[in-house]
């Protein structure tokens, strides 16, 4: 049976990605109300990544390592663990710190983001980077699930 924590971890991570996409959209053409919303979205995004870190970490240590990893490694796509999972679990560690930095910039510059194009471009680029990394991680999650499914199908057939 699929462990529910994997879905919870993925959903919370995607909410984090969506929160930073929200920050990006608000700051494309910022006004005071939009910056107010961007501050809320950035704080929420950081919180979601921290929650995803804890839930994903618990799932990885308590369930994935002892149960799923050996199945994938014995299946037809061992690279799903050897490459995709290894890259995913380590690149994920970049996200909470990038989100801390982005949130820090939004809270530091506040309404100055309207006139300070340098600071605004910086926040926009960081948001785009977070969204790209987050979506790549979700894609790697799909590859890992496919690796596990392929291994289980091989055992049934």
């Amino acid at each position: 049976m699929v462990h529910p924590l994997v879905g919870i971890h993925a959903a919370i991570g995607e909410l984090g990605v969506l929160a930073f996409l929200w920050v990006l959209v608000e700051l494309l053409n910022p006004t005071e109300p939009r910056i107010k919303r961007a501050k809320i979205a950035a704080a929420l995004g950081t919180l979601f990544f921290l929650m995803s870190w804890v839930t994903g970490g618990y799932y990885y240590v308590a369930y994935y390592g002892p149960n799923v990893k050996p199945i994938i490694k014995s299946g037809p796509a061992p690279w799903a663990h050897g490459v995709a999972m290894e890259v995913k679990e380590h690149v994920f560690l970049f996200l909470p710190f990038l989100s801390f930095l982005t949130t820090g910039l939004v809270y530091r510059y506040k309404n100055n983001l309207i006139k300070d194009t340098g600071a605004r471009k910086s926040v926009l680029l960081l948001c785009a980077l977070i969204v790209i990394i987050g979506l790549s991680i979700a894609g790697m999650g799909f590859v890992i699930s496919t690796g596990a499914r392929a291994a289980l199908e091989g055992k049934i057939v």
């Binding site: 240590v61 050897g82 710190f97 820090g104 600071a119 960081l126």
Partner: protein, 102 residues
Amino acid sequence: MRINTAALSRATIGTISAVTLITIIAELSKPFKTLLTNFSGNHWVAKSSISIILFAVLYLLLPKVMADKNEVQKETTRVIATTIIAGFALLLFFVWHFVTEA
């Protein structure tokens, strides 16, 4: 409290670089990976804990040795470049590691 963006950027760069280096060294050196595992029961949990501690220490210490020059674009470019290089370094390393181990 005013947020020091230079220290925040440098702490992010330092943490991302350290995570990448520790990960690669741990895969190449069994004793180092064992040391990480003994630290907290799992090497990934150890890397997570180290990254949090390092980020906090760097952010608290860096303002004592460097001023916040308000060069936000320059600092952000450095962070983005470090993240992209570190991400590709991990990808290429694990592809190489998987191919040579198989």
